[in-house]
């Protein structure tokens, strides 16, 4: 399958979901189908290069893996959203991927930045301003997108000019300055975290997960695309040191903010900021292992945020006690994975870094542990709030009183025909065993709770399986990261 066909399928999926959102069963079926089709399309998409207007588009192995994971998580978020009453944001979980696919495959930094920022701007439309006619987090996020895109483009121009005058190293320094500002703003790296809270106040949890967990890492992809084209950007500048400082700052600030936060949007974003700090530090090592660990961290962050968002959306949509308990359990698993406390791959990558700090600088080590403790406390407080608001058992709905027979002839005829249909159906059902009849009735009445339960169980099982199979993920990450241009 060619990239253009994959793009067309993405457009079709987004349009179909956007239209199907009005009727809940259709939205659910469409979400499941669209996710399956997109995953199949991504897996069968050819890795060959395509030329268009002098630009090259190629789906590299790591990009394909990322796309597969991202579309699967977007699909899970869409399925979870389809259970709820408010399904306005359903299509937006896929709209952005149309342009993000361009950002992921193009070999041109400028086009990549425009595509990435356009995808983020599309997400702004999915946000819900809290006050009429006032600038809030959504509007300021849009302003930020424009400003940081400008900074990234100027930084790229400096990189472009450097080979013409290779003795002028100040060009590289200026490039790093502008690129750090631009990326720092968009990734909300410390100290540019101010926009994160107001933005998440106006954003539904699935959109937060899509924006932070799936959209933000594309910025790092573009940065390393640029480094692959101009390796001196990494060799002859302080980019790695800036990333370490930004990463440490993000971990500490994110942990401290989590400690005092009870709003789930802000809590998710600050906890995600802590995980992003680890990604940056892993990347700053500049080795294959560091990059592979960063890839795993990015995946773990996206998975955790998506799982947390999906469980919250399901718990809000379905007022069923056991579904709420299941959602709570999955939320805790997602939170633990985000902190890096689930045994397995998360723990390995996180502790690998922590032990390195323990050996070099104990103060940093303990401060990082304190930040992780802050995230844990924030999540625990939220879980306690959740437990307090769990719904009581809903009593079975009583049968409604029979309606009086209609008076007009057409209505009577319809009434008679319906009676015959029901009678025929009842006689047919008598042949079916009583237990199967009961099960069918329960499924019809509680299909949302049933499918939501299945989804939550699958998510929980996946996190556990993912955690206990570290070698599988690490080998895959090492194999795909080794093919990146800057590593080569």
């Amino acid at each position: 399958m060619t990239l253009s066909l994959l793009l067309l399928i993405l457009v079709a999926a987004a349009v179909t979901l956007h239209v199907a959102r009005y009727w809940r069963p259709l939205a659910f079926v469409t979400s499941v189908t669209a996710t399956a089709v997109l995953l199949w399309a991504t897996q069968t998409a050819a890795g060959a290069t395509n030329d268009l207007f002098g630009m090259t588009f190629e789906l590299q192995p790591l990009a394909r893996d990322y796309l597969t994971v991202a579309l699967a998580l977007s699909g899970i978020l869409a399925i979870a959203t389809s259970f709820g009453e408010a399904r306005r944001t359903l299509g937006f979980l896929f709209w952005s991927w149309i342009v993000w696919l361009v950002a992921l495959t193009v070999n041109d930094f400028v086009i990549g930045v425009f595509a990435w920022v356009s995808g983020l701007a599309v997400i702004v439309i999915a946000m819900e301003p809290r006050h009429t006619q006032r600038t809030g987090g959504a509007a300021y996020f849009l302003a930020l997108l424009v400003i940081s895109a400008g900074l990234l483009l100027i930084g790229h121009r400096f990189v472009q000019l450097f080979p013409l005058t290779p003795d002028r190293f100040e060009l590289l320094d200026s490039a790093v300055l502008f690129l750090s500002w631009g990326l720092g703003l968009l990734l909300a790296i410390a100290p540019f975290v101010l926009w994160l809270g107001p933005m998440t106040d106006e954003t539904p949890p699935p959109i937060i997960a899509a924006l932070l967990g799936l959209g933000q890492p594309l910025g790092l992809w573009l940065l390393y695309l640029l480094i692959g084209q101009s390796p001196r950007l990494l060799e002859q500048s302080d980019l790695n040191a800036i990333m370490v400082i930004g990463g440490l700052g993000s971990i500490w600030i994110g942990g401290a903010l989590c400690l005092f936060e009870r709003r789930i949007g802000r809590l998710m974003s600050y906890a995600g900021l802590v995980a992003l700090g680890f990604v940056l530090i892993d990347l700053a090592r500049g080795t294959l292992e560091g990059t592979a660990f960063a890839v795993i961290e990015i995946f773990a962050r996206a998975l955790s945020l998506s799982v947390m968002a999906a469980s919250i959306v399901i718990a809000r949509a379905i007022p069923n006690r056991w579904v709420s308990y299941l959602a709570l359990g999955v939320f805790i698993l997602g939170g633990l994975n985000l902190v890096g406390l689930t045994p397995g791959v998360s723990l390995v990558t996180r502790w690998n870094l922590l032990l390195e700090f323990e050996a070099t600088d104990r103060r940093v080590f303990f401060l990082i542990l304190l930040a992780l403790l802050g995230v844990m406390i924030g999540l625990a407080r939220y879980v306690l709030t959740w437990l307090e608001t769990l719904p009581e058992s809903v009593p079975a709905q009583e049968n409604l009183a029979p309606a009086p027979p209609p008076e007009s002839i057409s209505e009577r005829l319809r009434f008679r025909l319906r009676g015959m249909w029901l009678d025929w159906g009842a006689r047919l059902r008598q042949r079916i065993p009583a237990t199967a009849q009961y099960a069918a009735r329960q499924v019809t009445a509680h299909w949302r709770a049933l499918f939501a339960g299945i989804l939550l169980c699958a998510l929980g099982a996946f996190i556990l399986w993912y955690s206990v199979s570290p070698n599988l993920w690490l080998q895959r990450a090492l194999a795909t990261a080794a093919q990146l241009a800057f590593i080569r």
């Binding site: 400028v110 301003p129 006032r134 400003i147 400008g150 949007g265």
Partner: protein
Amino acid sequence: MPSLNDLARAFALFGAYELELGLLLAVGIVVLVSDWRVSLVALAAQYVLVAILLSTLIPLQIAAVRMIAGGLVALMFYITARRVQPARRRQREMPSPEARVLTPRAIFWTNFPFRLIGLALVAVGVITASDQFVLLNAPLLFWVTGLWLAMGGLLTIALTRDALKLGMGLLFFTSGFGIIYLSIDNSLVIYALLVIADLVIALAIAHIASAPAHFQGRRRGEM
């Protein structure tokens, strides 16, 4: 029907002095005046003046595209403002507590003298910065103009509490950035992408300005 040559002749009437004065006034109006109609006129005028300025860097036909995009942006903002403003008037007339909560207090966070001082400081900052530092040897006219528009836009973004006004500030910023970037890299791809970006920004701002508020009495995200 006026041809492209007529447009070129009309553009030739504007010298650097007139352009600078026009853009100075446009930024001043957007920062200082609260009325959306006057600000919208200033935004449209800014697009025309920037197109004239850019026609010295890129072919006239291509520079005129920015003018057309500006017209579309102004139209989008006009329709949005017309939709939003009557609702605002009705809310002011409604005595209910919810309407009072939802009614915006003013377009700007600060009063007129504060904005005037802010604008003067920005002007001084632009003059000083352009005197001491030039980005990648950009021509002075483009550097000063671009910096002035970008900084004026940022000032508007910082001072306003109205989404439409913020959008105007954002579009002033993109215009300024476009001038600076095109003066250091004469790339038509960037130019085209900036024009598209203006339209996307206008669309998003129109959505934000006209979206119904979700005022639930509790903070979003709480169970």
